[in-house]
Symmetry: C2
Subunit: 345 residues, 2 copies
């Protein structure tokens, strides 16, 4: 194995082959309208024949921009966020091509939020902007990026900066509302909610959707709700009394798939059947839900990724922040856990 592949074609090779100057080739690629049709056709044919693609390094150097977006990955948030992060990373990677950029991932092994990874990426000019996938309370990153003048867009609102509008998120209330509609249509009588403690924008939105839909259907009962943190065992403990409260023939809308799994586990352990004895719905559309046959509210991760990349493009082009953040509508996906007649496999 020598070094790399058989030398790939450069802009000069194309220019020579097409009998034009290399600037003309550049124009054909970047400003096609400025080139005469027949010349353009000839050049395009040579580009095709030689499989020419501009060198990203040369382009970056010349344009003083990396053409890349950074994404921090860490092991911590994994199970917590219901495995959504991976799918989001995939969608971002797919979407990047359409935005004429690519995704560079980096990771920190420290378990505390830190900006060192971001600094390293910026210093090496490896990326022009960042996508933040999980901002949290006291997150130092937004302020640091603002100060450094580096564009970013966030999946979900920024906790400490309610006025920041560079985000895209799922319409949580629409999701839980759709879940309630489905449960009512299926004939479940009482519909409870197992959520996170009040105070998170995401969790509160999802609770609100449940409440409003229940009110709309005239079945809202304030007592049919409980809170727990995003972990299986605490959720199981919170689930038990709520299951009894809604009773057989009732249903529980859960704020996340992890919590829905907890409800289902408790139910199974007491010999009752999901769907038939108790309706359960989750939220996130994670593989966890699919694997356990739990109905879930699926997030449009492809749209979120695309929106965030668009926002980054705009900011890189010098445009100001949008008027407001973008809320995207999720899709309710029914599975066995919320079908009364269907045996849970």
């Amino acid at each position: 194995m020598t070094k790399g592949a058989n030398r790939r074609a450069t802009i000069n090779d194309v220019a020579r082959a097409a009998q034009v100057s290399r600037q003309t080739v550049s124009n054909v690629v970047n400003r096609p309208d400025r080139v005469a049709p027949d010349t353009r056709a000839r050049v395009e044919a040579e580009i095709e024949r030689l499989a020419y693609r501009p060198s990203s390094a040369a382009k970056s150097l010349r344009e003083q921009r990396a053409g890349a977006v950074g994404l921090e990955l860490n092991t911590l948030g994994h199970g917590r966020r219901g495995d959504i992060i991976y799918s989001f990373t995939v969608e971002l990677s797919i979407g990047a091509r359409g935005h004429d950029c690519h995704i560079v991932t980096f990771g920190s092994d420290s378990d505390r939020p830190s900006i060192t990874g971001y600094e390293a990426m910026v210093r090496a000019r490896l990326v022009d902007a960042f996508v933040l996938a999980d901002t949290h309370h006291d997150d130092p990153r937004p302020a640091w990026l603002d100060k450094a003048g580096i564009p970013y867009a966030t999946f979900g609102r920024v906790w400490d900066a309610p006025d920041f509008t560079g985000w895209a998120d799922v319409d949580g209330a629409a999701g839980t509302s759709a879940a309630v509609d489905h449960l009512v249509a299926e004939g479940y009588s009482r519909v409870g909610f197992l959520g996170w403690p009040e105070g998170s924008a995401t969790g509160d939105d999802r609770r609100r959707g449940w409440r409003e839909a229940c009110e709309r259907h005239g079945i809202y009962r304030e007592s049919l709700q409980a809170s727990t943190i995003q972990e299986l065992h605490p959720a199981e403990e919170a689930a038990a009394p709520l299951i009894e409260a809604v009773g057989t023939g009732g249903a529980i809308v859960c704020v996340s798939d992890v919590i829905a799994l907890a409800v289902q586990q408790v139910l199974l352990q007491s010999g009752r059947r999901p769907g038939i004895d108790l309706g359960i719905t989750g939220f996130d559309g994670s593989p966890l839900a699919e694997m356990n046959d739990i109905s879930s509210v699926e997030q449009p991760l492809d749209q979120i990724a695309d929106e965030l990349l668009s926002q980054i493009s705009d900011r890189l082009a010098g445009q100001p922040l949008p008027e407001q953040g973008t809320l995207l509508t999720p899709t309710f996906v029914p599975r066995a856990s919320s079908r009364r007649g269907v045996e849970h496999a």
Copy 2:
């Protein structure tokens, strides 16, 4: 917001500040031994003060290499491989820094294996090499990369090319063997195995580890095994008879966490308790197992990532393929599903 941050320092800025030519700065960074100690100290101080880092674009252009490794991500394999891919991606991203490179992810939305994404990355000279995380039967990628002369390293052996040695993998037999040792020590009497159909190197290794350990303990019974594909429902059907075959007080070693979850689900649905009535162990160390309190064989993903990046460095430096692939030893992590006395939470 103007364009990017306040212009970052270049090698010229450092040279001027340190009163040397810019080549000297370059030498300080790349060939420290060629510079007089006092000059070096002065330059290093300025580098620190100005937070100078070489521009990766300029370096790439000059050195004719991207300094990046490509990793294809797709949504397909997600649940299937027990969510390991995400953790692997994280470890690769973390490890990259130590190998003086970074990871560029790309995705294809097509559901068939294809090389178009790889071609695009290579053409744009965005990466020098690739990590392949999941080669499968009839995978077109290794042959294409070989032909194009692009280095790659694979997580797991290459199905169609048993002689290819540029891989790193987990020692599956050592993992299941450790699981059996643990189960025997815990006092489970009969130990069965629920695996994948014969024919995959990975699955067969894990089965072999179970068999050899059972033989070592004098408890091998050929009938206590069954096969299923890597999906929850088929696995549940295969699990039921095997659970009866090993009986109460027995245990089942599973070829993966997904399959272990299936066994646990069937057990719970029949009112029995994991660990107490039946021991269960999985394989992969996925969040799925952790979340469901299932004992698992954890893969040393950080070591695998590091090994693969080392191999890629070597090949980029012109060194030949290693004599043989690298097998890394996994760690058995006991949880409630394989403790006889402990109540499953």
